[in-house]
Amino acid sequence: MTIQEIENQLVDEFAAFDDWLDKYDLILDMGKSLPPIDPKYKTDQYLISGCQSKVWLFAEYRDGKVYFTADSDAIITKGIVSMLISVLSGQAPDAIQSADLNFIDRIGLKEHLSPTRSNGLASMVKQMKLYAMVFKMKS
């Protein structure tokens, strides 16, 4: 699936709920379903530091595609990390770099990507795109 198709699917999933608490229940479920990161990458080297919650991000490049794994110490952050990974992981560097990720806004979670929110997510998106750029240059 393309990035856009996955984004649309996520937006539809959230549209089924009216109450914000139900939407957050879904985010929690997504957080729980995030494939674990290899513990050896859960170090300061892979840490994206936010003021409130932390995110660890690792990426590798196989057959022209970028694969991400990640974790967070806060479950809501982890849920959003999980969505970003489902959208971007396994995509080509060009597609990752040009993704505008407006699904976050369409779902109504824009606040979480605001740099002032200080939860590491805004920096995480930057870091994912940076990985894509570096892999593309190296390949």
Binding site: L21, Q52, A74, I75
Partner: protein, 406 residues
């Protein structure tokens, strides 16, 4: 007269708002309080009828605005029982008041090897300015510990005071723990050792009657916006003998007496510390806030807020795995907590979605949060416009968070 809660709430328009389709419950009062109509109206009245630059015009409006500005200073002097109006300096807020004293006091009195004593429960505003000036002057910042319940370890504090100590800078009330420090006892002790005391009153002044003469503190700093007044206005109270000795903090118009090419002489107190056009709008709003608080009565406010605190502690304690930070016997109306191992960011996000504004994180007191070895806390801080019913809704919200993350 006991607080008429319906009447009080009607004074605060923002309290009738809904968020996420739920009635707003505002428990972030330690960050900033909401403003009553009386304050909002005072500000719009000022711009509609009185706006003018003060202290220098000879025309009607300027004199009227100057008079109102200086009347406000009198009112604030009376509110904190300062001996004289020229000991009341207007600033941008508590942070600026604290920076002013740290910079000016440090410039004049700190030498290499001198010491400044503070505590681990300080807000960054009363920590970082001292850290900076100590580094600049080669002085040492000594930090007093707290006890397990969040009370200040006064024995440790006293053990840090020596002939090297030039000043003690401590908070009246901890913005994270709620602990009310025994200022009178500490100040008397410090003065016996010949050491002046600065008090960060940002969290103190809105919750109980503050009497700077009775406390005998050398400096007392606070913000207007945490006491139902506007943002961008604050106060530095300082004893005359200190303010006379401190060099000016910023320079410009208003703070000078005579400017010649060779040298400048500075204006008298308090104008020496009020460079530039002052925040007349802010002072006007702050005056209205002080009048509002006086009408309700600081004793009634304290009693009412204590009851809210008691209800919150009882309600939240009924939930298992609650971890409270700050359980000192003398405590202002806020609770800082974690729900088991749930990240404070997670808890705060869900509580917000239930329409309740709480604060999460380190609350600008990182040394304190590090001391506990936690990522932060959830803090609910109460004001006299909050209700028992709202407190019960917080308890329900916390139970809900616990179920969601189970």
């Amino acid at each position: 007269m006991p607080i008429d809660i319906q009447k009080v709430r009607a004074d605060f328009p923002i309290l009738s708002h809904t968020v996420y389709k739920r009635p707003l419950i505002y428990f972030d009062n330690a960050a900033t309080t909401q403003k009553p109509l009386q304050v909002i109206k005072a500000i719009s009245d000022y711009y509609e009828n009185d706006n003018c630059n003060i202290h220098r015009g000879v025309h009607y409006l300027s004199m009227k605005a100057t008079e109102a500005f200086e009347e406000a200073r009198k009112e604030i002097r009376e509110f904190i029982n300062a001996p004289s109006t020229h000991e009341v300096v207007f600033t941008k807020g508590a942070s600026e008041s604290l920076n002013l004293v740290a910079a000016s006091f440090g410039k004049k009195f700190l030498k290499p090897g001198d010491e400044v004593v503070t505590t681990i429960m300080e807000h960054h505003s009363n920590f970082v300015p001292w850290q900076i000036i100590c580094e600049e002057k080669g002085a040492v910042l000594r930090v007093a510990n707290i006890l397990a319940d969040g009370d200040l370890d006064t024995r440790h504090l006293y053990s840090l005071i020596s002939e090297k100590t030039k000043i003690i800078a401590l908070t009246h009330v901890s913005n994270v723990l709620g602990t009310i420090n025994p200022l009178k006892e500490i100040i008397a002790h410090a003065h016996r050792m010949g050491v002046p005391v600065l008090v960060d009153g940002a969290q103190g002044v809105a919750h109980a009657k503050v009497d700077v003469s009775d406390l005998d503190c050398d400096f007392y700093c606070f913000s207007g916006h945490k006491m139902y007044g506007p943002m961008g206005i604050g106060v530095l109270y300082g004893k005359e003998k200190w303010l006379e000795e401190l060099p000016p903090y910023q320079s410009g118009g208003e703070m000078v007496k005579d400017v010649r090419i060779e040298r400048t002489t500075f204006n008298e107190l308090p104008f020496k510390f009020e460079a530039g056009t002052p925040n007349v709008e802010g002072v006007t709003g702050l005056r209205a806030a002080v009048q509002y608080l006086k009408n309700i009565g600081m004793e009634e406010i304290s009693l009412y807020e204590d009851r809210l605190l008691k209800r919150a502690v009882e309600g939240l304690s009924s939930i298992s795995d609650m971890r409270f930070y700050g359980t000192a016997p003398e405590k202002a109306s806020l609770v800082s907590f974690l729900i088991g191992d749930i990240h404070p960011f997670d808890a705060g996000t869900i509580i917000d979605k239930m329409g309740i504004a709480v604060r999460t994180g380190h609350h600008c007191a990182q040394p304190l949060i590090d001391h506990f070895g936690i990522p932060g806390t959830v803090r609910a801080s109460f004001a006299f416009y909050n209700t028992a019913d709202e407190i019960d809704r917080l308890t329900e919200a916390v139970s809900r968070v616990k179920r969601m993350f189970a």
